[in-house]
Amino acid sequence: MTPGFTSTPSPLPVERPRSRSFVSLTPLIDVVFILLVFFMLASSFLDWRAIELAAPQSGTTASSAEGALLVEVRADGTLRLSGEALDMGALASRVSRRLAQRPDQAIVLEPQAGVALQAAVDVLDRLVALGAKDVSLIRDSPQ
């Protein structure tokens, strides 16, 4: 029995875990987990896009903006082009016809009180998509 025992490679597998556990992995895993959680919570993946806001000179009102198309966005969701009530499609065709004649046509966007920013941005987007290069935002009259 004894000579058979000594020839088995039993000492090797017994000693290997002792040398491996010299460096403990648990604190490393802890730190890496904490770093992971930090970066997951602190990072943002929002894809920010910018809209250039061209404002006419301060003090300009709708009436004094010479030759510009005035687009009003009203609180009930309707649009007005130079005082005439229109829906989005009619406004788009009017504006694109005007832009075909004068590509540098200035357009003034005037949201009324109670209009959410998203509604104004939607109209602004549509006007820019039609090819308008000079779209500026104004408000009715500063209180």
Partner: protein, 138 residues
């Protein structure tokens, strides 16, 4: 004989445990590197702001002063809550060479509030103003 077999199974178990935890560490490391590279660590906004969506394609650098406007119309610059009158004086100190200002406004804020901020910025001599939006979901 019984002790011998116990030793072998114990050492094999410890090795298995290490081998089982190594893929976990690999994956966690990969996730960590992913979040470090892809995610941009952002300053925490003073207000909870849901930005408007738009089709604008221009991307945004981070070299501008950001004016936050929350859904109620409150303003803040660099974490300090201001009103419209304080905005002009508060900004002139912070504006660098470029003179560029980004407006980060909530999609639900009244548009005329943003226009009022815009007018104030123009009055303070800001050359470039941009409204920050996110890409419209497809």
């Amino acid at each position: 004989m019984s002790r011998f077999s116990f030793d072998v199974s114990a050492s094999g178990g410890a090795q298995d445990e290490d081998d089982r935890i190594l893929p976990l560490i690999n994956v966690v490391f990969l996730l960590l590197i992913f979040f470090m590279i892809v995610g941009s660590v952002s300053q925490v906004d003073p207000f909870d702001i849901e930005p408007p969506a738009s089709d604008a394609r221009e991307t945004v650098g981070d070299d501008a002063v950001v004016v936050h406007v929350d859904a109620g119309g409150r303003l803040s610059v660099d974490g300090h809550v201001l009103d419209l009158a304080q905005l002009a004086s508060g900004l002139s100190a912070r504006l660098g060479r470029g003179g560029m200002v980004h407006i980060k406004a909530d999609q639900g804020v009244e548009a005329i509030r943003v226009v009022a901020v815009l007018e104030t910025l123009r009055g303070a001599g800001v050359q470039q103003v941009r409204l920050l939006t996110v890409q419209r979901p497809a």
